[in-house]
């Protein structure tokens, strides 16, 4: 699995963000290459929420940052509303960036601890200029209110006086004040308590409706991603495994990895049977990814070909794309213990 390819891309006019053949490599401490993202393509339609799931270190954040050009990807193209971002520099890039905003995982560290909330939120307007002082103040107040904080009490406080959920609201306000076309959320709720997580998810949902926002939503919690996304992209070790609509993807995974993920989700239901571990072993190192299909080292279905040939993403079912030599069919895909044990 875990392959390249563009079969899942759509040719529609309303594609706002289109990412092609994205490659992100870092140089590690001793000069080795870290293959964080290898040849990932995806597209996002206007008003759509694309979820990106995968385990830690699979390159989700790298994709997000590459889209933001922070830093620019090693290679590949990122188009926003038809404008190519890769290769843009200086002022031109800065102008494009306002259309593309991001919310980070850690609500605390994504806010400057020493600035007042109103300054943090107004920063975007100030950076881009052209807005009068009173306008800035008014829009800031308005935005604070929209994310569910009280402008009167919140404006002059500093982030450390707020809880994680409130900080995340401030982050959302900061991103939204520029009226971005696309909002990238890099695990915005995984640092939050369960009780607050729901507040933020509801808020994002609300914002999306209100502003017809396009979102790329990243999380490792499948349930969270599923709840917020229209389409889900599953990643494994820098590559895409499977793409499908959120309601179907986990119900009938086509890729063995997706199935394993689905099986691993603990259900808050004492009656549900505890499943045997769906996968053995850990994520291989991105320093030296396995040949062929990157998932093969842990895949219960792996065959020789998986080591030799990298699977291309292809449509396995209508609206379902997977990069696997042996995709599961809709029935076999029902999570079952037997499969794991068979290999």
């Amino acid at each position: 699995m875990a392959g390249s390819g563009a079969a899942h891309l759509r040719d529609a006019d309303d594609v706002v963000l289109s990412v092609r053949n994205l490659v992100v490599e870092y140089s590690g401490r001793r000069g080795e290459r870290v293959f964080a993202v290898s040849d990932v393509s995806l597209d996002v339609r206007r008003g759509e929420t694309v979820g990106l799931v995968g385990e830690s270190g699979c390159g989700k954040s790298s994709v997000a940052r590459a889209i933001m050009q922070l830093p620019a990807p090693t290679s590949g193209s990122v188009r926003m509303d038809g404008v190519e971002l890769a290769g843009l520099k200086g002022g031109a890039l800065r102008r494009q960036r306002r259309k593309l905003q991001m919310i980070f995982q850690d609500p605390i560290s994504s806010l400057n601890p020493l600035r007042k909330v109103k300054d943090i939120i107004a920063e975007g307007l100030r950076v881009h200029g052209g807005v009068s002082k009173t306008d800035v103040a008014a829009r800031t107040q308005d935005m604070i209110e929209r994310v569910g904080l009280d402008p009167a009490t919140a404006s002059d406080r500093r982030p450390h006086e707020f809880s994680g959920g409130q900080c995340q609201r401030i982050s959302i306000a900061r991103a939204m004040i520029l009226d971005p076309a696309v909002l990238i959320c890099d695990e915005p709720v995984s640092a939050l308590d369960v009780s607050v997580q729901a507040q933020i998810m509801n808020l994002l949902e609300e914002m999306k409706e209100r502003y017809r926002l396009t979102m790329v939503f990243i999380a490792h919690d499948l349930a969270v991603v599923k709840n917020l996304s229209d389409r889900i992209v599953v990643m494994y070790l820098g590559k895409i495994c499977e793409v499908g609509t959120s309601d179907e993807l986990f119900a009938s995974p086509a890729h063995p990895y997706t199935r394993a993920l689905a099986q691993s989700i603990p259900e808050p239901d004492p009656e549900a049977p505890v499943q045997a571990a769906a996968l053995s072993g850990d994520l291989p190192s991105p320093l030296n990814p396995p040949s062929g299909c990157r998932f093969r080292t842990r895949c219960p279905l792996a065959q020789d070909i998986c080591a030799r040939e990298e699977p291309e993403i292809r449509q396995v079912r209508p609206g379902r794309f997977a990069a696997c030599h042996f995709p599961l069919d809709a029935q076999a895909a029902q999570p079952q213990l037997a499969d794991a044990a068979a290999v």
């Binding site: 369960v194 729901a198 490792h220 709840n227 691993s264 603990p266 259900e267 808050p268 499943q275 996968l279």
Partner: protein
């Protein structure tokens, strides 16, 4: 849970037939002196755990789960203060009375702990093997080769491939899941009677989390040890525990056998917690029932139920009085700390009142839909 555990000696002198619980925590209060004030991290907790059972402790960040577990392990930070009147009994021995020397053989031998973050809970400067053997040799008086063999056996037991090689490696050479296996191996190395696992999988990936939880369950079943499984994820405890204690702001607000708890939540917080969790089974874009407000502040808390400000059932009484953990009259073994528990007439009435008013006694707005 596997009941018929063979009785084994716990603390040296305790009679095997001792009918009492293995672990009993009574009115535990741990406060921290901080520059900001007195942090009441654990503020009157009562718990009981029988042999061979698994107790789940759930609660949000900061609710005092870790402090509770550390208090049991006696590894609290230097600025912690365990208030008088607190009792922790392990097999009827009050841990406060155990001398430091005896303590050493209590730790590791009777009591063991697995920490949340496998990245930091192994000593980075010692090889995996050294850490295992030093523990084995110290407690079990094994010689070098015996300790080595035992260590390798343990590594194999926790599912580490090529244990002979891993033995000589440093923690940083291992992946997160692998490290957590090593910490588990360390914890069970002297066959403890009680294993406390403080969010053992929170830092791990879902697939690995699954492996580790299964491993722990298997080990527990094999060795009949008791386990305290601490987590903030109700999903984790649902299928793997015999009983669950829900903590909020340093207190246990509800305590019941797992199935009973899920079937019949008494405390509004437990209910709200469950409802706020997104579930894969639900269709996407389902609006979640969130809990209003934010987690409580436990520095010099005001009187009253600490959940009251966020509670849809809150009444005037909740603001003034602190509810005690009381057994449910209808369900023995189910206790909750609420004046207006759900599913009781009082509770339903309180809720209705608040919905009618649109606001709770604490001033929190309530919408009808919240009350599913």
């Amino acid at each position: 849970m596997s009941i018929g555990a063979q009785p084994r000696e716990i603390v040296a002198d305790s009679p095997a037939a001792s009918p009492g619980p293995l672990l009993e925590v009574q009115n535990l209060r741990v406060w921290f002196d901080t520059p900001r004030g007195l942090v009441r991290a654990v503020d009157g907790v009562d718990l009981r755990l029988r042999r061979g059972e698994t107790l789940g402790i759930v609660g949000e960040s900061g609710s005092g789960k870790s402090v509770l577990s550390r208090a049991v392990m006696k590894i609290l930070a230097p600025n912690a203060r365990v208030l008088p009147g607190s009792h922790i009994r392990l097999n009827d021995v009050d841990l406060a009375t155990v001398s430091r020397k005896q303590n050493k053989h209590l730790w590791g031998v009777d009591l063991a702990m697995v920490f949340q973050d496998p990245m930091t809970s192994l000593t980075p400067v010692l090889t995996v093997g050294k850490q295992l053997t030093e523990t084995l040799r110290y407690h079990l008086n094994l010689d070098r080769t015996a300790a080595h063999d035992e260590a390798v056996r343990l590594l194999r037991l926790v599912g580490i491939p090529e244990p002979e090689q891993r033995f000589h490696q440093y923690p940083h050479n291992l992946s997160g899941g692998m490290r957590q296996r090593v910490t588990i191996a360390l914890a069970i190395s002297c066959s403890p009677k009680l294993l406390i696992a403080d969010e053992p999988t929170t830092a791990l990936d879902v697939t690995v989390q699954h492996q580790i939880l299964n491993l722990m369950r298997d080990l527990q079943e094999k060795s009949h040890m008791s386990m305290v499984l601490i987590t903030h994820d109700l999903g984790v405890v649902a299928g793997r525990t015999d009983a669950i204690a829900v903590m909020y702001a340093g207190r246990v607000v509800e305590y019941a056998p797992t199935k009973r708890l899920f079937a019949n939540m008494r405390h509004p917080y437990t209910r709200a917690l469950i409802d706020a969790i997104p579930k894969v089974a639900l269709p996407s874009h389902t609006r979640l029932a969130s809990i209003p407000g934010r987690p409580p502040v436990i520095v010099d808390p005001p009187p009253g139920c600490s959940f009251a400000p966020r509670c849809p059932s809150a009444q005037q009484r909740c603001l003034a009085e602190t509810p005690a953990l009381e057994p449910d009259p209808q369900e023995p073994g189910h206790t909750s700390a609420c004046f207006f528990p759900l599913g009781t007439t009082d509770g339903d009435a309180a809720r209705k009142r608040n919905i009618a008013a649109g606001v709770t006694a604490a001033g929190t707005p309530v919408a009808a839909e919240v009350v599913l």
